[in-house]
């Protein structure tokens, strides 16, 4: 039965599939895999994300601009994609993610809300992806050596100009000192009234807002706006470069400083003076992630680049004011250096994974901020209470 002729034909069916994608690390390491999504090549910093659900939200989170995301969970794409789980303000807009590294090939979607195959969705959004990588080994590499810069490349014919890609990866300066906000911020001012998702109605609409909040968009996620709207805020979103005068002219009851990509120190060069001015005027202010970091800078603190960063949906944070632990969604590669903070900034939240700073509040001004993502999406919704805290702060300030 098992003649040599048959065995020979066997060699063809078992032929090695052509590697159609590569990940070239700055140190020259080359990982071969199979291309998915868009073709071409892109350079970025390789990070990992340990969340087991919510890849669509992750890939539309503008904070990941400039990064290549390695998903640690081996099956990504199972539930396809839909029109609801997008976090960028512009539904089709680029979030700035440079690439995706996956363990397994993408399966057909299986979920009642799915409208599109994940691969097709990646392609449509111009995101390059590679599968067939031992993502656990890559994660361990990042854990041990820090987040490397790399080029991700996808070509259907498997032809790559390796020396050029290696040179590009090595030459890329990295995220430190890089202001990526201009890539992802909104060009124009707009208002927001969509509230959070619930089954079976989907997203809701705000009816009777009690407060007016101006949200500065450094790469804001939709779910932040939804939660502000749900908490009773009429939200006006303004571009990152909006001046303090322009913001104050909108007569905000509160100001929100959003998440965003890149080095807070770089963006801070133009954003921090604005933030200082807002704080000085005594306007209740709430910051998330990049917003948090820049509040830190505004009060005289320092931010530092982290070794491997925090990216996942299982991060424990302790609220020092209540002693309670919340499981949070995190996504940051820079952190506020606690020791650099002035006495007027108290540490309200701390990461229980590594003790790094996760939140501050000013003692002399109605200002607080957190390093993590209380809006979740993806991730646990334990920290939604912060939006209520913000509204209470606004109400108290109004009453005073």
């Amino acid at each position: 039965m098992n003649g040599s002729a048959e065995q020979h034909s066997g060699d063809d069916v078992w032929a090695e599939p052509l590697p159609t994608a590569i990940l070239v690390l700055a140190d020259g390491t080359v990982l071969e895999g199979f291309g998915l999504g868009a073709t071409g090549h892109a350079v970025g910093e390789v990070c990992f994300n340990t969340a087991m659900t919510g890849y669509q939200e992750v890939l539309t989170d503008p904070s990941y601009a400039g990064q290549i995301i390695t998903f640690t969970f081996p099956h990504i794409g199972n539930v396809g994609t839909n029109e609801e789980d997008v976090e960028t303000i512009s539904m089709a807009g680029a979030s700035g993610v440079r690439g995706v590294v996956l363990h397994s090939a993408i399966t057909d979607p299986s979920n009642y809300r799915a409208t599109r195959h994940f691969d097709a969705w990646l392609k449509a959004r111009g995101i390059i992806a590679i599968s067939g990588i031992d993502t656990r080994a890559l994660t361990a590499l990042i854990r041990d050596g820090g987040m490397p810069n790399a080029v991700i490349a996808h070509a259907a014919n498997g032809q790559f100009d390796l020396p050029a890609l290696k040179a590009e990866a090595a030459a890329w300066p990295g995220l430190e000192g890089m202001d990526l906000v201009p890539m992802v911020t909104s060009a124009q001012r707009f208002t927001w009234d969509e509230t959070t998702w619930s089954w079976p109605d989907g997203y809701g609409r705000q009816t009777a807002p009690a407060h007016h909040v101006v949200a500065v968009d450094y790469g804001i996620k939709r779910n932040i706006l939804r939660l502000l709207a749900r908490a009773g805020c009429q939200v006006t979103v303004v571009p990152a470069t909006t001046s303090a005068e322009e913001i104050m002219a909108l007569q905000p009851d509160g100001v929100f400083l959003s998440n965003g990509p890149g080095d807070p120190a770089a963006t801070g060069e133009y954003a921090v003076p604005v933030i200082r001015e807002i704080i000085a005027r005594g306007v209740p202010t709430f910051g998330i992630c990049l917003g948090h970091q820049m509040i830190g800078l505004a009060v005289g603190g320092r931010t530092v680049k982290m070794h491997q960063g925090h990216h996942g949906a299982n991060h424990p944070v302790k609220d020092n004011t209540t002693g309670k632990v919340e499981i949070t969604s995190m996504n940051h590669g820079f952190a506020v250096d606690r020791d650099s903070l002035p006495a007027t900034a108290t540490e309200t939240h701390v990461s229980l994974f590594d003790g790094s700073n996760a939140g501050i509040a000013l003692t002399d001004k109605p200002v607080f901020s957190v390093q993590y993502h209380p809006e979740a999406s993806p991730g646990p919704q334990d920290s939604h209470y912060l939006f209520d805290r913000f509204v209470e702060l606004i109400a108290k300030n109004k009453a005073a």
Binding site: P74, Q308, P316
Partner: protein
């Protein structure tokens, strides 16, 4: 919040005997709780009637009560222990399953907790009530805005028609207060609905029926939640059932984590889980919440929640590395999650986080329908599986195929299977019908349907399994076809991709028509070897010093295999575990494996465990130094051993502690030059091999019942003709007496050969001789011959366990069975020490045991079964390995014999342990516990095939009290007054007299069937006559149903009498009337009842016996 100092003593209630639905997982949780709370400095008091558990080892608690878990007995323990030391006294009821919860609730209702000022920790009575009571639970869910299945309680047809508007069709109809769902059903159309409603109202004694919306076919999920006093909540693990709603989650194939939820749906379920815990009021500890989701609309309903550690928590703990029971125990005494370190990351991170995993876990249940002829192998919402295997792979496919071969049911992967009803015209409908019926092998039928050409849509329509899983299975099936058509790949990359889908070498061998050895050789020639990855709770985000590992054929990383096993340079011993629990091989063997690990660690070895059973203590990451959660096949085990051997010294492997599972691997290990510790596999084989064993006994001048061996159907007829009837027949190399029977006449032999044996033929043999039944059987017998023994009627059976090291021997325990020889030793009650044997007989048994141990060169443990008839000793069976009785004996004689055996196996001398013969004045009775109630229609009479799932121990100063305790512990409601029904075969009549007289003297009334009644009256025992079932009504079954009988003694002879009395045994079972089907059991029961009536049962801690 630090731990509480106002409590000094904590009482932990165990789960009692292993039964379906409550297995080893509660030894895992109880053991963790005992260890943890003891380490925290509390005085730990434990009650558990199950001697086979690790938790009842005397050093795990300060006071260990191996006593029946009844509220009355536990109340006595509380009274005795309450003021043993000053300080508060707490009861932790969440570690021992439903048994412990129910017992705790009863204690509270009886006022015991108030009387003795006992605080319940872990769960309050209110919370337990709210979670357990369907009405309260539904109200609680409505209160927090969660959906439950729509349902209505109705009493009339018009009400039912009104209810239909709300629940819709199909509708589930459940009559109230009927047993086993009698009179209920599923209605798919209106006329069917009316019919079942009418029938149901009729069947219900209260004329009440619950009409419930059907959620059959919906997706099913579980969330494992942990909450602390400060209201910190975490999800440890999500679990998705591949089998949709309609199959009990314990009987479902499940995966972790959930694979087909978007984040929005997952978070919705997470929020709901936390809300459920808060509303029910679980203040601290682990709970499990079950959900169903309509795949079409996403509607989510809450099915139920368990306010305690459960089987799923054990699974979740093993799946993630997060020790739920250990953490729950610490939370119960006041710690908060952030105060507890995550062991797995070496304490680098706290327990207040949610584990994230970077692999897929698959759990597949194992069933024992073959043990219960007459039981329908259909899965329902009532659990029937007896064990489970779990496997871990980097992908779903890898974990699925590993899990299939971990089951040890002969599967090498998604093996081909016959689908009934094919070729009769409408094949498509036959396949659809097969897929629509949940059975243990449905997933194999799904794969087979794909081979037959059905598309995923048609398959999904039949079985409702999520299309995502179907796509994954189809890829495996397509790849199988490729291997079948083209043979194996010849490049490393392609071969590795094949292995990464989880294919075993033996499956590939079958597909490529090669030997497994050839596949393995080709694979190794290409250097395609597994890598080992760590289970670290954090997807590699933090370095994990804990060596908890699984294998994967992961692709190399930048050209180098990323292996994380890092074998040490230590001197190591590998212990092979017992795999999934099954009848005949359960917790006792896990006990032995754990003890080997503990003992050898103490002796300075690095201990390495290999097992695939998530319910066990052996698969805890801290039981041994290193843990490989892997299938116990030759391929998987040898890969591990070779990896471990690459550094340090592999002192050897222990194969004698895990039951048949590792023994079956002994030959392959020897061939791979792996040193095996202790008794040589050849000696084990000698004991199993009829001819070799016979010549050994002849040489030692020991007696054996006349016996013969048959390698074919024809030979079987010849051998039996020579031996004469009655006979015991069994296939060689099986544990638990699988297919073992007593044959009384020739027609029975024919049935056995042509009806029982075909069920044992493995699929590969069937495939080889598709239309030749005799050919199939003879092929099977050629490899595993039939063993025939002359059956010694009315003989006393004795079990002996001994230790030996080749020079010395030590007899650890002699157990006299209460039931006569012929009842499987695992199903028989037994007494240690013997209760009727003379000192001379005991000395002779010891002498014979020593002779055999030395002759076989036993290094470690040996078990012998003897029958004594007319003062003569016959050797029935010798097993030179750990036996089921080891933990029982160890506890009764107060010697850690499994630990000593392990050290002897590693090379120490028996003499160095300085063992003294048992000199205690206590008696222990072990009693078996059976799952008959779960298998409608199955006869409860005992025989040579083992059918018990677990055991209990009664311990006291006298045999009678110990026996009574063993009956109470086994769940029997021992009667103290009322009527005993007696119907015994002629041979037993004279000997039942004493028992009957005894019961009469205790005030019992006796009723009996004609023959027995005449005999009793003739001999002065007052008794009334009652009809047999065949004699017309009212008959004995009516009397049992009317509650007029409190005790049944029924022995039978011959197939006809057995069949006639079956309904009587069945109704005794269903009405929970204690019944004894052997004479000796009946006599012991009468003595036990006398002792039970005679005085209060006293409780005494194991530690106080020595």
């Amino acid at each position: 919040m630090p731990k509480r100092t106002d409590i000094s003593t904590i009482l932990i209630i165990g789960a009692g005997p292993i039964v379906i639905g409550q297995a080893c997982e509660f030894d895992y949780s109880g053991t963790q709780a005992c260890k943890t709370l003891k380490a925290e400095g509390y005085r730990v008091v434990l009650v558990n009637s199950n001697p086979a558990t690790i938790m009842t080892d005397p050093d795990l608690a300060d006071a260990t009560y191996i006593e029946p878990i009844t509220p009355e007995i536990v109340a006595k323990i509380i009274a005795k222990e309450r003021h043993a030391i000053p300080g508060g006294f707490a009861l932790l009821p969440t570690m021992g399953g439903q048994t412990a919860l129910n017992c705790a609730l009863s204690l509270r209702k009886m006022g015991v907790l108030d009387e003795f000022d006992v605080e319940m920790i872990g769960a309050t009575a209110e919370a337990i009530d709210k979670a357990e009571d369907r009405e309260l639970f539904r109200d609680a869910m409505t209160k927090i805005g969660l959906d439950t299945p729509r349902s209505r309680q109705i009493k009339t047809l018009p009400q039912a028609l009104e209810a239909l508007e709300e629940v819709g069709l199909p509708a589930i109809i459940r009559p109230s207060f009927t047993m086993g769902g009698l009179g209920g059903g599923i209605a798919y159309n209106k006329s069917e609905y009316i019919e079942i409603i009418e029938r149901g109202i009729d069947a219900s004694p209260t004329n009440e029926v619950l009409v419930e919306e059907s959620v059959l076919g919906w997706k099913e999920y579980e969330m494992e939640v942990v909450r602390d006093k400060a209201d910190n909540c975490i999800i440890v693990c999500s679990i998705e059932n591949i089998d949709p709603m309609g199959v009990h989650t314990g009987d479902s194939i499940t995966v972790a984590p959930a694979l087909t939820l978007t984040d929005k749906e997952y978070q919705r379920m997470r929020d709901a889980s936390l809300a459920v815990l808060r509303e029910i009021g679980v203040e601290t500890g682990g709970s499990n919440v079950q959900f169903a989701i309509d795949p079409e609309t996403g509607r989510m309903i809450v099915i139920e929640m368990n306010p305690r550690v459960s089987r799923s928590s054990a699974l979740a703990s093993k799946a993630t590395g997060f020790p739920i029971a250990k953490v729950a125990a610490r939370l119960a005494v006041g710690y908060t999650l952030d105060e507890i370190a995550n062991d797995i990351t070496g304490g680098a991170t706290p327990a207040s986080f949610e584990p994230t995993i970077d692999y897929v876990v698959t759990k597949i249940p194992r069933f024992a329908f073959e043990k219960f002829p007459g039981a329908e192998p259909t899965l329902t919402t009532s659990m029937k599986s007896v064990g489970e295997a779990m496997a871990i792979g980097r992908t779903f496919q890898e974990s699925l195929q590993k899990a299939l071969r971990s089951l040890e049911t002969g599967l090498t992967g998604l093996d081909e299977i016959e689908i009934e009803g094919l070729g009769l015209g409408d094949d498509k409908n036959a396949v659809r019908a097969a897929l629509g019926t949940p059975t243990p092998d449905r997933l194999l039928k799904v794969a087979q349907a794909m081979r037959l050409g059905l598309d995923d849509e048609a398959i999904h329509a039949g079985c409702k399994i999520d299309p995502w899983f179907l796509e994954q299975i189809r890829e495996i099936v397509d790849t199988e076809a490729k291997v079948r058509a083209h043979g194996l790949p010849t490049t490393a990359g392609a071969f590795r991709r094949l292995k990464a889908m989880g294919f075993s070498d033996s499956r590939l061998a079958g597909l490529a028509r090669l030997s497994e050895a050839e596949v393995s050789a080709r694979r190794r020639a290409l250097d395609v070897r597994p890598v080992y990855k760590r289970i670290d709770t954090c997807a590699a985000e933090f370095a994990a010093p804990t060596a908890y590992m699984y294998s994967s054929y992961e692709m190399p990383f930048a050209g180098v295999p990323a292996d994380e096993s890092r074998p040490t340079d230590a001197k190591k011993v590998v212990i092979l575990g017992g795999g999934p629990n099954r009848i005949g091989q359960g917790i006792e063997f896990d006990y032995c494996c754990c003890h080997a690990a503990f003992a050898l660690k103490d002796a300075g070895y690095e201990t390495i465990m290999v097992n695939c059973n998530p319910e066990t203590v052996s698969t805890d990451y801290d039981t041994s130094d290193r843990l490989y959660f892997e299938p116990l096949t030759a391929e998987d085990v040898i890969e591990i051993l070779e990896r471990e051997r690459s550094n340090g010294t592999l002192h050897g492997v222990i194969v004698q502690f895990g039951g048949q599972t590792p023994l079956k691997l002994a030959r392959a290990l020897e061939e791979a030059d792996i040193p095996i510790l202790g008794t040589s596999p050849d000696a084990i084989d000698l004991a199993e091999d009829r001819d070799r064993f016979k010549s050994l006994l002849d040489k030692l001048k020991l007696r054996q019942p006349a016996n013969g061996i048959a390698y074919s159907v024809e030979q079987a007829r010849l051998v039996t003709a020579e031996l004469g009837y009655p006979l015991v027949v069994r296939p060689s190399y099986v544990l638990g007496g699988r297919a073992m029977q007593i044959i009384h006449e020739e027609s029975q032999l024919g049935d056995y050969l042509l009806e029982t044996l075909p069920g044992l033929v493995p699929n590969d043999i069937k495939a080889r001789y598709p239309n030749d039944k005799t050919g199939q059987i003879n092929t099977l017998l050629g490899k595993n011959p039939l063993l025939f023994d002359r059956y010694l009627s009315d003989a006393i059976e004795v079990d002996v366990d001994c230790l030996a090291d080749g020079t010395d021997t030590f007899v650890c325990g002699i157990m006299e069975h209460i039931e006569e020889a012929g009842i499987h030793s695992g199903d028989s009650a037994c007494s240690l020490p013997p209760y009727s044997l003379s000192p001379e007989m005991i000395a002779e048994l010891e002498a014979q045991t020593r002779k055999m141990a030395l002759a076989l060169g036993v290094g470690g443990l040996m078990n012998v079964q003897y029958a004594i008839k007319d003062g003569k000793i016959f050797v029935l069976e010798v097993n030179p390995r750990a036996s089921r009785t080891v933990p029982f004996v160890a506890k009764v004689v107060g010697q850690p014999i499994a630990k000593i055996a392990a050290r002897i196996m590693a090379g120490e001398a028996l003499a160095s342990f300085n063992l003294k013969p048992f000199a205690g004045d206590h008696v222990a009775v072990k009693e078996a516990v059976f799952p008959f109630a779960r298998f409608p229609g199955v006869d409860t009479v005992l025989g040579p095939e083992m059918r018990s799932t677990g055991e209990v121990m009664g311990l006291d100063k006298s045999f009678a009290v110990a026996f009574a305790k063993s009956q109470l512990g086994g769940g029997t409601k021992v009667p103290t007054s009322g009527t005993v029904f007696i119907s015994v075969r002629d041979g037993d009549k004279s000997r039942i007299l004493d028992a009957a007289r005894l019961l009469v003297s205790l005030g019992f009334k006796v009723i009996a069937t004609s023959g027995t009644q005449r005999f009793l009256v003739e001999n002065g025992v007052p008794s009334a006559k009652i009809n047999k079932v065949l004699e017309g009504r009212p008959h004995i079954v009516d009397a049992i149903k009317n509650g007029e009988v409190q005790l049944v003694f029924n022995t039978t002879e011959g197939a006809q009498a057995l069949a006639d009395s079956r309904s009587l045994r069945r109704s005794a079972l269903l009405h929970k009337v204690p019944y004894y089907t052997t004479l000796s059991g009946a006599i012991a029961a009468a003595r036990g009842i006398k002792a039970y009536i005679g005085g209060d049962l006293e409780v005494r801690a194991l530690q106080d016996y020595f």
